[in-house]
Assembly symmetry: C2
Homo-oligomer: 227 residues x 2
């Protein structure tokens, strides 16, 4: 078997970024879904722009910027209370229910596990703790070290470096199709957790595996082991 | 007066990318607006991803990829007829009504004008011709030469290079707030044609001027001239 380690994306993959829509709905009745979606979209857009323009700032701050913009765009009056509550929720996002047992199984299969995320370290530690995933990962890799967000190669390079493995021997797992596609370009073996049954991005590249939940990663690993 | 030349963004600024919504509505009744918006969003996202990952391909192809994805996402059955018609429309987008007289005025004020666009040259030539703007611009600058899309510095560098002027002596005009903001970071004097009265992007940077139509660029130039 060639896969010796797994690098997981965090937001959307291990932690449900849309879980904040309930809280959004509490502050802005009926607008929770629209807010969660625009917030996420702007957050990612700002990481792209700041990486292209070499104007990096930490993901926590970008997340806050994206929240403020989204509320302005949707004409929602973001009080400081609402802002603090929504940002606080982001620090302790719900994890997907299958995660913990999947991670435990992968570890008992002898795989080394890491998170490779846009999130800064404080955010990642907080989310891992809130999800009771302490001890599951040998490394929490934040792009904050290289000051470039995904999908810059410097960001993807962190896992091969820390594991001292070629990218193709590391399975990169993301629920964000663009992330799985760009990681495939980078050289990883890749798995797309397509939770919403979305169409494949038209980028001319296909992740090596696809499933609907993190549990499908186990099936992918087994298939490759039995080859 | 320090502004000696103007570089215009093309799509959204000179040419109305949302004008394709009528055609979209003809093929997909009721879905024209959603299609036009998602198509534009994915088009820009793909330029970011391909620039970050050094997997450039021409804007025309990216525009087609974005159309195909958007139809899949919106569950619209994109026939080859519809695809050809929508892409054909993109090659001859409607121009905004005020454009021609504004460009003529700026030229008669002695300013050198260029387009600086993600579009490949063939697209730009086709759009300029369809809008009867031949002869308005001394240069059609396409990022296709540097193989990096905006907002990469290599893309913005094209106008200072061709005009042999510092970026601050060139007014960069865009209706896309992200474009005007990132051009400000780059060093241009910038003007945001905020056609839809959108909120400012939360990027910590503000374009030097703002208006609602291209005609407001005249006011900005006059103000700076009279200083």
């Amino acid at each position: 078997m060639t896969i010796q380690a797994i690098a997981f994306d965090a937001y959307g993959t291990l932690f449900d970024v849309y879980s904040i829509r309930e809280l959004g709905d509490r502050f802005f009745p009926g607008a929770g879904v629209a807010l969660a979606e625009l917030w996420r979209e702007k957050q990612i857009e700002y990481t792209h722009l700041r990486t292209l323009c070499s104007t990096y700032k930490p993901f926590w701050e970008i997340t806050q910027d994206a929240l403020i913009f989204s509320c302005k765009k949707l004409r929602l009056n973001l009080t400081l209370d609402a802002q603090n509550a929504l940002m606080g929720q982001y620090a302790r996002l719900q994890a997907f229910p299958e995660n913990l047992s999947v991670l435990q199984q992968l570890r008992s299969d002898g795989l080394k596990l890491a998170i490779l995320s846009n999130g800064n370290l404080h955010m990642l530690q907080s989310a891992v703790e809130a999800a009771n995933m302490q001890g599951m990962f040998s490394h929490l890799l934040s792009v904050d070290v290289v000051k470039k967000f995904k999908t810059a190669p410097e960001a993807y390079q962190m896992a091969p470096d820390i594991f001292a493995l070629p990218a193709k021997n590391i399975l990169f797992v993301s629920s964000n199709c663009w992330d799985a596609c760009c990681a495939t370009w980078f050289g990883y073996t890749t798995f797309w957790v397509n939770r919403s049954a979305a169409p494949l991005e038209e980028l001319g590249v296909v992740p090596h595996g696809e499933g609907r939940t993190l549990a499908d990663v186990l099936r992918f690993i087994d298939m490759h082991r039995n080859k």
